[in-house]
Amino acid sequence: MEYREFRAMNSDTVLAAEGAKVSVARGFDQAQALIASLEVRLTRFSDTSELSQLNRSGGSWFRASDELFDVTRLACDFVSETDGLFDPSILDALENVGYDKSMDDTLRGAHGVTRPALTTWKWDVRMISLDCERRAIRLPRGMRLDLGGIAKGWIAERVAHELARYSDACAVSAGGDMFMVGLPAGGTAWSVELEDPRDPARTLLILRVEPGAVATSSITKRRWLQGEQSRHHLIDPRSLQPAETDWLSVTVIAPHATTAEVFAKALLIAGSRQAERIAAQRRDLVFIAVDRAGQMWGSNNAKEFLDVAIEYA
């Protein structure tokens, strides 16, 4: 297995692939270039990105690229699928708690930024108009979108399919949101370590997953101080404040990276009590949650994905 690691989308990014060396190296170059071009298009941290242009176009139709249109449409669909626990229209709230620049820049700013409180209110994404034929989007005046996590998952999956053209089997991980195509030679699954959200140096368990997606959402990673208050990036769309949850992280295994990313976020916001209800509704989802004591909780089907070759405590 060949690897290439670099920083992209404010995340540690890993490309892994098996195949002829020259072809894999070319695939890595193509994949890295594709990530760079998609990031430029979908980031909210650049005024010139296509997403920022869309966010400034409120009230009028915006002709979008296929990429921006597809991610926006997916994001709107997931709002109803998660009963509103995922919502891309919380950008004002996110900036209001201090996440108004990239996390790399936010963390470089020592104790973060204290901004005057802005008025934020709950948007209804059903007010977004999508014209599939013209690939056009109309946001209501004043609404702005953050496609951060879902775009990262979408890019990981798209890039993995690109890399698969140059390799026999491959994986793309963008900050732990990953998508795998094919299987390593002689293997029946991909091994993925699940990080301890209380101490990233520790590994809680090893997952064995088939081709598809794995994503984790955590409230311990992207944290900063706003004045004296500790903040994290996971906004609860119901309160428009950082989510108060009894879980530290949730990992989801799903066929698509966007599904894994969105439901990891929704389940983490939901916490143990409401996650039961989501689990009852979505029996196709596999998830593992880690609570504040480090105890892991899994959906009924989660045990099938533990590496049984390893002795657990």
């Binding site: 993925v192 990992t251 029996r283």
Partner: protein, 86 residues
């Protein structure tokens, strides 16, 4: 010739009247068709394949299971593919 034309006109007029009257009588005495009424088929909405019925939260079975963790004394080379959020 004139006589023949008059005769033909009279025959056509008489034939028309006779035909109309015969039809009237025939229809008036014919058996009435049975009235049948089939109600339109009721199309029931198909149940969604993916969604299980939503249970009231208090009665929901516990669908979460505690999972074991790796012993922290274990040493093994770290995998490149790690997930932990970003």
């Amino acid at each position: 010739m004139k006589q023949l034309k008059k005769y033909l006109r009279a025959m056509i007029a008489a034939g028309s009247i006779l035909g109309f009257a015969s039809g009237w009588v025939l229809i008036a005495h014919a058996g009435k068709p049975a009235v049948t009424f089939a109600p339109p088929p009721i199309i029931a909405p198909a149940p969604s394949a993916n969604l299980a019925p939503l249970l009231p939260l208090d009665n929901a079975p516990s669908s979460l299971q505690p999972l074991p963790a790796l012993p922290q004394t274990r040493s093994m080379p770290r995998l490149r593919l790690r997930t932990g959020g970003s």
